[in-house]
Amino acid sequence: MKQFALSQFNEIYLIVIGFFLFFSVFIGAIFWVYRKGSKKHYDYLSQLPLREENRT
């Protein structure tokens, strides 16, 4: 099975498929962070370090 997998390494279509798999995950992630309504959420998150609690 492993030998078989390795022998496929010269298979150009597999390489292209692999590339598109990675690439689409990457593009997907970009679309994901720009999903509707995410701005408010990310603004909240990015303020987390700056929120100072009241000292007692």
Binding site: K2, F9, L45, Q47, E53, N54
Partner: protein
């Protein structure tokens, strides 16, 4: 989002554990001094070999001390201080357990002390950045687990539902470092102070650099990026430039980094497909690395004036700039053609220090200038001094980097220079060394400047702490518990960002994909080994010699890997094969050629030459910068342990003959006697038949003589 409305219910008081942060901060400052000092000593040793004063102060033993101190003691303590300080504040809760925190601190310092003692004594596994012997390995893993429990326990009792991006980087660090360290250190002990790694030859090489490069990725990059994402917004009082970018670059970074390790083995006997994968992923790493760097720098948008006035911001911006430079150069060096020039030279040393001194060093200094006054409830003693520190430090790094870059390219070009007849222009290796010795001195000057700047930090911190109030009260804040009243409805990824467990598993999957695809196929080494290339194992005496080679850290200056490039083949002989090192535990392919490659050293010189060379290298090669090893002539071979070692190797699949197996001890003594007799006939006065030098000579003469070409 302030919680100032005290009339609301759900307010609780949280007292942060700042004592532990103070302890880790002071430990960082202390160990940094040691790491930098040892660095300067070994830098000078390369220009002035007489500075290798005694056995335990030779370059081969101090270099592992320098790297381990910089990595685990300086960077390690800095990470712990920063993580414990920022996590409590980001999650609005006290650390999980005071007891575990203390155990973490003292356990880690104890480990460092053990390293400081054992490494100069030559107690070493012979794997770069992982030299520490097995009892220390186990302690490191245990203390890391304590750290993990303390961290994840804090996560569980947090009062802020959402996890800020810095926390993600911390989680990825904790999970991945544990995996890397354990897998790379799996070994079989043959005593309290010695062990053999289970992997051999190419497997060991692959796993070592999977570990080694990801030590850079997950010990020197992800935790420091996490610290950057907390302290830079904090110090500049503005949110990170793009939170979205931080999400994308986090996942890209951890997913890609794990594949890049084999770029340390380009042009070697490593199978081609692994080399291609490593190059492709290393080049792709450009994007997420710069994603992080750009995100950091642009956080200062609209506040560039801070770059003129605030030394802390200056340190951070300089650190990120150095990070961008180092991560630009890294992919470049991972291209095979560039790598063939730069690999094994000082260029790589320069590259590493651009990252460690510039990125890790300066980010830590910025963090220290920021948190020390806060932790001791006072103001920084002198901003001006911090500014001077910055500029001396930058000057030091530039001296260091430029001299090493010049040295590396000069030497790399000299190694490959051929004349019209196809002959090497500089066939004597030492010629290429003499040329760069002035640059070694320049590098040492760079190190001295860097340390000089650091001394200002020491004084500044000392004065700051001295002016602090005697009674330090732990910071107590009022926190409104947000879990009962969510700020907005939870959906999809927002949920994921809040769920530490699911997130941790996803991150683990991301790093496991690359690891398994790269490592699993080579675990069955027989697929790559050509059976017609028969290889003889080292004799018991040669094995004893090999142990000395490992113990003395010869691999810190000598490679045993003739690359598949023309200049290597011209200089050292046919390219090394996988078979030749198939029984080597640990592999000794090396990463630096301060001296020549030794893969085919055997039978090149007579025994007497080696004897004189080890006693005093300059008696044989006038300009040599190798340390002298006179104690090898007086200290005795450990014959008694050979039986055990040979049968262990046999169990691991090394084909020893029945005679070797049943009588390793005496077989070794016979071989030693033969060598000693020859040496005696050539004029050596002492009887060295039971001395370490004889075993080492036996090993050196066996290099490249065991078949497998």
């Amino acid at each position: 989002m302030s919680s100032s409305n005290d009339t609301n219910s759900g307010l609780i008081q949280v007292k942060y554990n700042d004592q532990i942060v103070r302890m880790f901060t002071l430990a960082t400052i202390f160990w940094a001094t040691i790491a930098f000092l040892v660095g300067i000593i070994i830098a000078l040793q390369m220009a002035v070999p007489q500075l290798n004063l005694t056995g335990w102060l030779t370059f081969g033993r101090l270099r592992p001390l320098h790297t381990n101190a910089a990595l685990f003691a300086f960077a390690g303590n800095a990470i712990f201080a920063g993580i414990y300080h920022s996590t409590q504040r980001l999650l609005k809760t006290r650390l999980f357990s005071d007891g575990l925190s203390k155990l973490h601190f003292w356990g880690w310092q104890f480990i460092i002390v053990l390293a400081v003692i054992t490494l100069p004594l030559g107690i070493s596994q012979g794997k770069e950045y992982a030299e520490l012997e097995w009892p220390i390995d186990i302690s490191i893993v245990l203390i890391w687990v304590v750290f993990a429990i303390n961290f994840f326990g804090t996560l569980l009792r947090r009062n802020e539902r959402h996890l800020y991006v810095a926390i993600w980087f911390y989680i990825a660090t904790i999970v991945t470092v544990a995996l890397l360290y354990i897998v790379n250190a799996i070994c079989i002990p043959v005593g309290l102070f010695q062990s053999y790694i289970v992997y051999a030859g190419i497997q060991d090489a692959l796993i070592q650099w999977w570990y080694g490069h990801n030590a850079v990725a997950f010990f020197l990059t992800t935790p420091f990026l996490g610290l950057m994402y907390y302290y830079l917004p904090k110090a500049s009082n503005r949110p990170v430039y793009s939170y979205r970018l931080s999400v994308v670059h986090f996942w890209s970074l951890i997913f890609m980094y794990i594949w890049a390790g084999p770029h340390h083995l380009l042009n070697t006997a490593l199978p081609g497909w692994l080399q291609i994968l490593a190059t492709v992923f290393s080049v792709m790493l450009w994007a997420p690395s710069w994603g992080g760097a750009v995100n950091g720098i642009l956080t200062l948008r609209g506040a560039w004036h801070l770059l003129r006035t605030d030394p802390i911001i200056k340190f951070f911006v300089a650190a990120i700039t150095f990070y961008a430079m180092a991560t630009f150069e890294g992919p470049l060096l991972s291209i095979k053609a560039v790598n063939s020039l730069g690999h094994y030279t000082d260029w790589i040393v320069g590259h590493v220090h651009l990252g460690t001194l510039g990125w890790n060093g300066f980010l830590t200094f910025g963090m220290l200038y920021f948190i020390v006054p806060k932790l001791w409830n006072t103001e920084l003693y002198s901003k001006k001094m911090a500014n001077i520190h910055l500029w001396i430090g930058i000057l030091g790094i530039l001296f260091y980097y430029v001299s090493m870059l010049a040295a590396g390219i000069t030497q790399g070009l000299m190694w490959r220079a051929v004349d019209a007849n196809g002959q090497l222009v500089y066939p004597d290796f030492v010629e290429t060394v003499i040329r760069i010795i002035p640059l070694f001195l320049f590098r040492a000057l760079g190190g001295v400047l860097f340390l000089a700047g650091y001394v200002l930090l020491l004084y500044n911190v000392y004065k700051t702490i001295k002016q602090a109030p005697k009674e330090l009260v732990e910071e107590t804040v009022q926190v409104r518990i947000s879990s009962s009243t969510p700020i907005h409805p939870e959906r999809g990824h927002r949920k994921l960002e809040g769920m530490a467990a699911a997130f941790t598993i996803l991150a683990l999957i991301a790093i496991l994909v690359g690891s398994i695809i790269e490592i699993a196929p080579t675990l069955s080494i027989n697929k790559y080994v050509k059976t017609e290339n028969k290889v003889e194992p080292f004799t018991p005496l040669e094995l004893a010699g090999r142990d000395i080679y490992v113990k003395e850290g010869c691999y810190t200056c000598h490679s045993q890997m003739i690359r598949t490039i023309q200049s290597d083949v011209l200089r050292y002989g046919a390219a090394s094969t996988i078979e030749e090192s198939m029984y080597d535990r640990p592999f000794q392919w090396g990463s630096k050629r301060t001296g020549p490659d030794l893969a085919r050293l055997g039978k090149k010189y007579p025994d007497l030459w080696h004897y004189m060379h080890m006693e005093d290298p300059r008696a044989v090669i006038k300009e040599s910068i190798m340390p002298a090893y006179p104690w090898l002539i007086t200290s005795k071979i450990d014959f008694d342990s050979l039986q055990k070692k040979v049968s262990l190797f046999n169990k691991l699949g090394v084909p020893y003959s029945d005679e070797d197996l049943s009588d390793a001890n005496n077989r070794a003594k016979e071989q030693a006697k033969k060598i000693a007799d020859v040496l005696k006939s050539q004029g050596v006065k002492e009887d060295v038949s039971d001395k370490k030098i004889t075993a080492l000579i036996a090993y050196l003469q066996a290099l490249g003589q065991k078949g497998g070409e």
